[in-house]
Symmetry: C2
Subunit: 454 residues, 2 copies
């Protein structure tokens, strides 16, 4: 036989058993989003390159998948670039569209483009694939789904509270034990200010963001390398070592940051969020973590990260507030706050901990064995009754196929029950129902079967 | 302000109100697919060009969106093609991936690639976007969703019956009045044979496929133009004018096609399908239509098309059996049969006939007006109770925002109820609930509200 066909590296087929599990995750998350009034949005896979370029840094531009213009695309290409084989410069002449790299830039683009049609605050969720021309490696793909929920056009910290409530509900329903880490970029800015290195904010956040991974000593070494004075680094130590519960930490921070206006604003925001949360008595473990910085991103207020407690894996959800979501497209003063659920990692956690519901990789509840033409005609009427009662059921389609083949089909598809309806059952109006796990077999009526499966 | 950002021509944003309606369609269709044991499958947006090229004809190859290779893609490009500006030949050197053009080729590719892991018959549905570099025009897009359901690896005509049952159930649930047209390619082959033009099968099917649009005379003219003899054309007339119910038509056809083996096989297949269907007593209007040919496609057995009866629009669902689904990838003897639901057209039909459920463009059932800090703290506890009962509810996030703004938000988002909880309501433990359509307002308890909205 010829070589098997394949798919581009870094991409995946989602086979049915995987899809059913993924849908379980997405359906759970979506139902929570809807409970809080978030509406679905979808944007095209292709965006104009003018929309995408320059939004993800120089490295990001390189990782965009670019689409070749249709037709005679070389027609107007510059002879100079062609003869030079200048890939970088030629790209602009032969490609004007790219695949979306994330869901945030398309969201911002949508809000600006449709600013006269939408009402603020605008609450949307979006679950779609994104594409990045990264080198594929374990756990890193070139096509993967993002699952974002954001609200824009509202400065209220109630939005932050709502996002935390949603995190609580999603993970309770998925039965994953998690801890939510919270911090505030203004507090980080305040820290940089009071240790006397305000212009080193980015270096400081990048370094302390690594606390979890590389530890205090390595972080201090990195800060020194970045040019922070011994004095600044030593001033930073009590902050990195801050202990106690959230209230105690905030209390201590207040005195440390007393001289920084932005820092005090950050503390006020955190305090407000905690004050909203207290009476709600969420079971969620929420921890103020000053070493949480979320890299070099565009956040300006609250930042969040969610960690699974029973599996060693990076954060499974993250997000925060960004004060100038739509400024890149010319619309000022629209603040946004949102979080992104990491579907692939949530899948891995649930798989590892066996948290998917037991019937979580199948769809069909019962398979009717096909014994022959008379039997299949009889079974089709029974199937009609089952389906009218909302039960997912199949008849093996090949008339009188070998029993072994039919049972193998049920087994492979993880169908929990098999119905055997032969001459005897037809004449006495029953169905022999076999439990595929226990092997147990009982004769019941169609009414009893519907009752059993509902 | 700068110019508004835009999206590539032929693509669309699906705004929340549209998404809710689209999801209503997809959710209905999916739940029917599941009832019959079809499992979800998703494949990557990008396929290798070797998978896609040559599968859709020469015209199709041109309509594939091709993805520029990453990095220094010109490095190994031929100087000759560059200096010639030979777009066609250069493409193979600078692009090795393309966006999928339909869901059938990726399905066939999946089945062949994973032939050792899947069990036949393999029943899958797939709802994903496809991309075609067509010239955009009204109703034709460069990105659109296909919604396919297919089974492969089973020759049983029970599969055809099942697909018809699904069509019946989908459109009954969507409340669209439809007629299902059915024909069989073998019958068409038989017709070509008995009129003495077996090698003109394609011309004949293409011409008679147009009966609906251009009428009998124009079809005859086209057949003449294609080189059919007067004799052949006159032999074809009784077939084109066949009248009566399905059984009567089949009976007449039997005598017309008596000399054609393939034709009689087609009649036998149609008869078997009708025999299976009769005892099921589906409400669906099913009509044998010999002028149904479904163009130049690869079908070899049954062919289907569904037309909406109350709106002038092309077919909203179509499909059929293709005997050699996976042969293009080297796996012989795997027959497939399936249908594709046209999501865009179904959407248009439902919109035009106002068939979407009344609350079909919203998600939130009730909005709590935000009167100020005390009130919002009180409302958040009430919201917890509503959401715990599965009710989608929102609190306007801006503390004490103007009433007009908040009501406008509810209005724009089509939220059916607004809750007003001020000082008086807090003290007497009630909620003033306003019906946004009737304007009616009642004071009720949270328990009563939950009862009302459930």
């Amino acid at each position: 036989m010829a070589q098997l066909p394949s798919i581009p590296k870094g991409t995946r087929d989602y086979a049915p058993d995987i899809m059913v599990k993924r849908n379980y995750i997405f359906d759970t998350i979506k139902s929570v989003f809807k409970k809080y009034g978030y509406m679905p949005l979808e944007t095209p896979a292709m965006e104009n390159l003018s929309t995408l370029m320059g939004k993800y840094g120089e490295e990001g531009d390189k990782l965009l998948f670019k689409i070749l213009n249709s037709g005679d695309y070389l027609n107007r290409a510059s002879e100079e670039y062609l003869s030079e084989k200048n890939s970088v410069k030629l790209t602009n002449q032969i490609s004007e569209k790219g695949l979306r790299y994330d869901l945030t830039v398309p969201f911002a683009r949508f809000v600006v483009q449709h600013q006269n049609e939408i009402t603020l605050p605008f609450k949307r969720y979006q679950i779609q694939p994104v594409w990045r021309a990264d080198r594929p490696q374990k756990g890193r793909y070139r096509e993967f789904y993002q699952c974002d929920v954001d609200v824009c056009g509202s400065n209220s910290l109630l939005n932050e509270v709502e996002l935390i409530q949603m995190v609580d509900e999603v993970y309770r329903r998925l039965k994953i034990n998690v801890r939510l880490l919270i911090n505030n970029r203004k507090v980080l800015a305040g820290i940089a200010e009071v240790i006397g290195e305000p212009e080193k904010l980015v270096d400081i956040t990048v370094a302390i963001d690594k606390m979890d991974k590389i530890g205090l000593e390595a972080v201090n070494a990195e800060l020194k390398e970045k040019g922070l004075s011994e004095d600044s680094i030593s001033k930073l130590q009590p902050i990195l070592n801050l202990s106690g519960n959230n209230d105690e930490k905030l209390e201590k921070l207040k005195s440390v940051l007393a001289e920084s206006e932005v820092g005090m604003k950050g503390i006020e925001e955190l305090t407000t969020v905690f004050d909203y949360l207290k009476p709600l008595e969420l079971p969620l473990d929420i921890k103020l973590d000053l070493t949480l910085a979320r890299g070099l991103s565009y956040y300006t207020g609250a930042i969040f990260e969610v960690k699974a407690l029973d599996v060693e894996i990076g954060s499974i959800t993250g997000g925060g507030r960004y004060d100038d979501l739509t400024g890149i497209f010319g619309l000022k003063n629209v603040s946004g706050v949102g979080i992104s659920f990491g579907a692939d990692r949530i899948f891995d956690v649930m798989n590892q901990l066996e948290l998917f519901p037991k019937d979580g990789s199948t769809i069909t509840q019962i398979l009717f064995v096909n014994f022959g033409h008379t039997e299949e005609m009889h079974c089709m009427k029974l199937l009609q009754k089952l389906r009218n009662s909302g039960i997912n059921a199949e008849l093996y389609p090949e008339t009188g196929a070998k029993m072994k083949k039919q049972m193998g089909y049920a087994d492979k598809k993880a169908i929990p029950f098999v119905a055997l309806v032969g001459e005897a059952e037809i004449s006495n109006g029953t169905i022999a129902v076999k439990n595929m796990e226990s092997g147990e077999q009982t004769n019941i009526t169609i009414t009893e079967l519907i009752e059993k499966l509902k």
